[in-house]
Amino acid sequence: MGKVVLVTGVARQLGARFVDRIRREPGVDLVVGVDTEPPRRPVGSVAPLDHSRCADFVFAHADLRRPAIARVLAEYAVDTVVHLNVSATNPGTSARATVKEINVIGSMQLLGACQQSAVLRRLVVKSTTGVYGSTPRDPAVFTERTQPKTLPTGGFAKDAAEVEGYVRGFARRRPDVAVSVLRFANLVGPGADTPLAEYFTLPVLPTALGHDPRLQFVHEDDAVEVLRLAALDPGEGEPRRTGTFNVAGEGVLLLSQCARRLGRPTVPILLPALGWVAALAKRSRVSDFSTEQIGLLAHGRVVDTTALREVFGYRPRFSTTEAFADFAAGQRAGLLPPERLATVTDRLTALLRTPEDVRTPDDRS
């Protein structure tokens, strides 16, 4: 009998794409998707499903905050749980309290259900590199073992840190279940729906004056691939993919570089004032911007991915730069498109050359 994989958060882009991918995997018999809304067609490069060769998909309408999830787990004899429903935003609601409840209470319910299941073998949980926080007093590169100087005080990062705590507790109580926690850097891709992606769609980017944060991105394709590797059993002789792993594209982009590559002008604002601007934007529903995002925009965050490369044997196909380029390709034109600016300097350079050639004979005479 093949694997039965349960995926939470399938209404979101990442969940939908992961379901599409895992259904093609040989050895997977059934994929159960859980969310409060059925999945939409994922955006991005997914070939149409060949239904003869892919696993069945069942959508189970369930609110993770209710104990109903335990019934779903038992009904389909789920042996692998991929928990993706830990997110900064939720399609159904904009209230922070509800999002927090779905993240934290939802995870607790799911873990409780997992603990009762006798057939469960594997648990994969999506987390964020936000759990490291971002302050100027932190080391420049976080490894999985780095203790953050200050724990996230609120928002999605705090939820993720709390969820990770419950997952660690679960792993202690059920040592027979292989548990992996994947800390993703900022997800980008053609259809990514994260707050940072939303920030980059603003026509003018407010930035923190005197700060140029280092950012890291991970492409959705890579995220799906890492999730797939974590959900499957490792092959003969391969290391067990359990524990906590940072997932990020190689390399770093500064916020100023991102803005220039997108062709978006920046407006540097004093750091405390940036908080007010964000609060104002949030209240006027222009953009949903939380405090931990401000920290990221001021101090940045870079993680070490050695563990991912060694244990998973996987090197993200998209570097940070390439992932961002792919994201930028799907964006509306900015006010200062880099190609236009480049033409201006190119023209000036051309002008420099021509008069020189013209003048040389004159000089000789």
Binding site: V141, R261, G263, G300, A333, P337, L352
Partner: protein, 345 residues
């Protein structure tokens, strides 16, 4: 080593800017209009400038800017093109090699060569490749000595190596200062960062006296303060890289610190607030350092690869090595001071 390898500009992976089509003619109409107007404006301006500089004022511009100014202008424009389109690389620590070489070091070079007339000795003690930890004495109220060491190593070392300094957390808390420090290749003085940089094969600079050294009164000049907790030695032991002691003479007299307004410093959250013969009496002019003559001497490297990596956990060994480094720097300082003809020449 492989990480250091990847940073070579020749091998750097650069996404051609054309592959990021954030601008398309069919895109946002207002944006396109604006861009077209900007392009026309730039064209007109370019034509006018090119015309003026090359044709009418050709001989004049040549005598003003010197021969080959077109070549320099072209490379300047190429630099500008990369900057405005964001087409450059930074490493994980935020080090912007191009900006550092073209802007920061160029700005600091006259200060090092013309103002302080730095004499660099023993540069061969810094290895041509691989990690090394440069440990130096700290002095002079403002960390000019650290910046000058960075210029000296880059300009005098045959491999043009960049010094990656470990700086106090105050640097990264301050806006702008922190941003510039990161872009110049420096990072927070903590074990994790020191370790990571040394393992990537970088030359790391550390000033273990910290604020105690830089903010000490003039009467205690060239007397080394306590060398922290020896964390730098432990990092070098773990990474198995040599420690290069570095003695800097001349920086102590740039801002002779006669007094320290401790109460005001505490109020402003600063480690000290100096009173020098010129500051604050001469106002902004008092910020100018005295034009002392500097010597930077790199000593024989102290090897750490003879110890097993777990030696970093042996506090006795760490203390002994710390003392050895400190004594070497102190004795070299005394020797250099005896040889010095005058503070200013």
């Amino acid at each position: 080593m492989s990480a250091a390898h990847e940073e070579l500009p020749g091998e750097a992976k650069v996404i051609p800017i054309e592959s990021a089509p954030s601008w398309s003619p069919a895109g946002d109409e207002a944006g396109a209009d604006l861009a077209a107007v900007a392009a026309r404006l730039a064209d007109g301006l370019g034509d006018l400038l090119g015309d003026l500089l090359a044709d009418r004022l050709g001989p004049v511009t040549e005598s003003v800017f010197g021969k080959g100014w077109e070549g320099r202008a072209a490379s300047g424009l190429a630099f500008l093109r990369r900057r405005i389109t964001g087409d450059y690389e930074v490493d994980e620590f935020g080090f912007d090699r191009e900006l550092t070489e073209e802007v920061f070091l160029s700005a600091l070079r006259p200060l090092a060569e013309k103002y302080f007339r730095i004499e660099v000795r023993g540069i061969e003690n810094i290895p041509a490749e691989g990690g090394a930890l440069v440990v130096a004495n700290h002095s002079g109220v403002v960390p000019l000595d650290a910046l000058m060491t960075q210029v000296a190593i880059h300009d005098h070392h045959p491999a043009r190596r960049h010094l990656r300094m470990l700086a106090a957390d105050l640097v990264f808390v301050l806006p702008l200062v922190g941003e510039l420090a990161r872009k110049a290749g420096h990072t927070l003085a903590c074990n994790e960062d020191a370790q990571a940089l040394l393992e990537r094969g970088e030359v790391v600079g550390v000033w273990p006296e910290g604020f105690k050294g830089i903010g000490k009164p003039f009467a205690e000049r060239y007397k080394l303060q306590r060398f922290g907790r020896g964390g730098f030695v432990a990092s070098a032991l773990r990474a198995q890289v040599p420690i290069v002691p570095c003695s800097i003479v001349g920086a102590e007299e740039t801002y002779p610190m006669l007094g320290n307004v401790k109460s005001l410093a505490r109020l402003l959250g600063l480690p000290y607030l100096p009173i020098t013969p010129t500051f604050p009496w001469l106002g902004p002019l008092g910020v100018l350092p005295l034009p002392t003559k500097w010597t930077i001497q790199f000593g024989e490297p102290i090897r750490t690869d003879g110890y097993p990596p777990e030696a970093a956990e042996d506090p006795m060994l760490v203390f002994n090595l710390t003392d050895e480094v400190r004594e070497t720097i102190q004795h070299t300082l005394y020797r250099l001071l005896v040889d010095r003809r005058s503070v200013f020449f």
